[in-house]
């Protein structure tokens, strides 16, 4: 089992550009969550996808959008990049089982640098 994988590992963009980050969940998982971790900070929840729909969203602007595909993989898109978007972007997957706790497994992250 490859676990949660993310691509690319590193990315450098300039202000105003758009970026797409990708995540493949752990085998058997159907839910994907995205987190932003700025340097020296704890991760912050961006949104969560299940059944190809956004189920819950954190306090992030509409420039941040996502998508989940039928194979449960997910993309995070950020438009009109700002310097402040520079961060490690973490993807976490889990298997939804009703209202019970579902452990989230994290990928290694994508380091985005905006110049």
């Amino acid at each position: 089992d490859a676990g949660v994988t993310q691509s690319p590992t590193h990315l450098i963009k300039t202000r105003g550009q758009q970026v797409t980050l990708r995540c493949s969940p752990k085998s058997g998982h159907d839910t994907v969550s995205w987190y932003q971790q700025a340097l020296g900070q704890g991760p912050q929840f961006i949104f969560q996808y299940y059944e190809e729909e956004e189920r819950q969203r954190g306090n992030f602007p509409d420039r941040f959008s996502g998508h989940q595909f039928p194979n449960y993989s997910s993309e995070l898109n950020v438009n009109a990049l700002l310097l402040g978007d520079s961060a490690l972007y973490l993807c976490a997957s889990s298997h939804l089982t009703g209202g019970l706790y579902n452990e989230q497994f994290f990928g290694p992250g994508t380091r985005l640098t905006v110049l």
């Binding site: 949660v4 969550s33 987190y35 020296g40 900070q41 704890g42 991760p43 912050q44 929840f45 969560q48 299940y50 189920r55 819950q56 954190g58 973490l90 976490a92 889990s94 939804l96 009703g98 209202g99 019970l100 706790y101 579902n102 452990e103 989230q104 497994f105 994290f106 990928g107 290694p108 992250g109």
Partner: protein
């Protein structure tokens, strides 16, 4: 709303010494509590979790934590640390709403082990 406060941004200790990393949370409802570890250039790994039951929770790598509802704390402890424990540690809470859950993280505590 839930929040997590990690009281120490950095904790230096000598190898084989005991360590305690402090975490306080605020929430108006019952929560689940977690400690994650992040090694350099890696994603997050779950150390331990409190869902219900015994307030003393044992995790991987010899770590344990105690849930104290009256003090709204969930401090992480290890009786004897090793050089390999050098990492960033994050305390987190979660709440499940209609099957969707998000993790709210603290700012992190950098644990440095000196030989």
């Amino acid at each position: 709303a839930q929040s997590v406060t990690q009281l120490d941004s950095q904790v230096p200790v000598f190898e084989e010494a005991p360590v305690e990393l402090r975490c306080n949370y605020s929430s108006s409802v019952s929560v689940y509590l977690f400690w994650y570890v992040q090694y350099p250039n890696q994603g997050l790994q779950l150390l331990l979790k409190y869902l219900s039951g015994s307030t003393l929770v044992k995790g991987i790598n010899g770590f344990e934590a105690e849930f104290n509802k009256s003090q709204t704390s969930f401090h992480l402890r290890k009786p004897s640390v090793h050089i390999s424990d050098t990492a960033e540690y994050f305390c987190a809470v979660t709440r499940i709403i209609q099957g969707a859950q998000k993790l709210v993280f603290g700012q992190g505590t950098r644990l440095t082990i000196n030989p």
